[in-house]
Every structure is written in structure tokens, then in C-alpha cells.
Symmetry: C2
Subunit: 157 residues, 2 copies
Amino acid sequence: MDVIPPQQVVAQAEALCHRRGVRLTAQRRQVLEILSGAGRPLGAYEILGAMRDGSRLLAPPTVYRALDFLLQQGLVHKLESLHAFVGCNHPEHPHFSQFLICADCGQVTELEDAAISQSLASAASESGFRPQRPVVEMIGTCAECAGKAGLDPSDET
Amino acid sequence: MDVIPPQQVVAQAEALCHRRGVRLTAQRRQVLEILSGAGRPLGAYEILGAMRDGSRLLAPPTVYRALDFLLQQGLVHKLESLHAFVGCNHPEHPHFSQFLICADCGQVTELEDAAISQSLASAASESGFRPQRPVVEMIGTCAECAGKAGLDPSDET
DNA sequence: AGAAGGTACGTTATACTGTAGCATTCATGG
DNA sequence: CCATGAATGCTACAGTATAACGTACCTTCT
């Protein structure tokens, strides 16, 4: 669906990092490529498996470090409810995203809904709370899966 | 602050479970008491530690099962970004909650903001998505911590 | 070029979080 | 009392994440 060609994602990331004066190293780029190419959320250890260079398997901190960098730069997002990571669709302009996660097929849709962001931000500031990192995820059933099997949810086991 | 007396919480839970025809067993009640009394999020293993009966330490599935039950009944919430659990402030009427989590002092505030719930629900249904479980958390700095140390964030180490 | 300092990487070990599976006990209704 | 299903106890293990420390590399300044 919204799978953007990894090359394009990487080129964009390259430009962004250069502009910011941070280094998109080979390893970080590789993680970004893997995530962009997957088109679905990947766990850290899945990424790690895809990074194997020849027969050598890298250690967990390697991938977590690359992910930390990409998260900081807004190039990937973490889905807290899945313990998994996805590439960001629009890294150019950092912003608050929301995610629709299908519990059936695993597909994830990234939203960028101003009403959600604003209502959350204003609710926070009403409490004197200073927002830093939002986590907004909705677990449910995507349109396609709802159409296939969800018309009558009364017969679920 | 919003620490409701555990006894009151338990009494309310008792009534609720009775009305629903489910069993609030001693163990489940104990987990609820521990969470309500803590006034802050607790990890599953922290709860487990607090549950020790004499010198005997229980095994992880015990606490996870009790938590599963309490989550189903809406008596506790899980904070996905913390891998931790909190007692629910208003279990009577099941609803969607949001959480403000202070990264500094760890304090958590449960909100019940209709604007957030509605904007999230309508964004989801615009995509044909059928919502089931929302995860809405804001990590940031609470009013108290912002007042103490956050006036000039430029001198952070 | 050479030295200094910081960033990134490799690796080991381990901590933390969560679940599968199976035996046992307990409460409940016939 | 017995049958049934729910709840518990327990072992073992799977999955997620980080601490700590040493090494390589890149940049900058002299």
C-alpha cells in the first residue's frame, strides 16, 4: 500500500542527516533499508537477523544503537504495543504520528492527524504537563480484515 | 494526589465483579491492592515481589494471570511504554484512558479526555478501521518537575 | 604527519519481560 | 459425592533490552 521505494527513503534520509550534521553510517542506512523494504513492523531481532553479514551474526546492541539513532532523527518509529519498529513515511517534517495496528493481519497505517495531536497536547498542557514523546496506537481490525471475516463478530471463538 | 484508598478501590472492584459474575479471588484482589496502594506504575516482577507469601516467591505466570484478569475487567491499565501497570481510577464505567507519564519523577496521571478519544476514533473509522484497544500515552515532564528543574533546560548534562 | 578527543562499532554477559505447557487444587452445580 | 470447569503452582524457556568495556575510526587542531 504505502510502501515507498527504499532507495527513495534512503536518499531522503541521507539529505536530512547531512543537513543536520549527523552521520548516516552504513549500518544505520542498512537498518533503515531493511525497515523500509519490509513494509511491516519488524522486531529488533528480526532486523538483526536480516543484517547478518556473510555468516556472522551481529550482537543485539548493534541494532539497538542504530535504531536509537534512527528514532532520534525521526526516520523510524517504535510501536510500543508490538515491541517493533517501522520506517517513517514522512521524515522531512518531524511531527506526532498515530498508528492503526491490525491485530489480524499485522498491517500498520501511520496517521498524522492534527485533531488527535492537538487534543492530546492541549489536554497535557491543561495539567501543566510538558509533552515530549507521544505514544498513540490503536489496535483493532483494518478495513480489509473487517470485510473478510469481521462482518459478524458474534461467532468468534 | 489521586491516590484513592485501596480499600475503597477493592470494595468497588468487588461489587463490579459480583455484578458481572466473575470471581475476584484473593490473589487477584491482592494484586489490585498492591497496585492501588503503590500510587505509581509497577512492573509485573515488582508486583510479584510484593506478593511473596512468607518466604515463598511465586512464579511469573501467577502475576501475569491475575493482571490479565484485572485488565479484562478494566480494573487496571497497562502502560505499554513503561512495561508497567497501574490501577484504574474509575473502573465503574469502562472507557478509553490516556496517560501522562513524567520521565523525571515517574508519576502517572490518568486522563479521560473525550476530545482525544473521539478524534482517535473518528480518524480510525475514516480509514475503515475498527478500533478495539487504544494506547495513548504522553511521555514528558509533569508540572512539578518542570517547575523544579525545567525552567532552563539548556544546562542539562 | 602526528596527537587528541569524540563518535561509532564489536562483543560478552546479563537483566528484564512475558508465555507455553502441564499437573494440581479449588469452587460449583448436578 | 462426583463431574466439570476455573483458578493456581510450577518448570522451563522465549523474547526484549541494556550495562560495560575495549577497539576502531573519523575529525580537527597543531
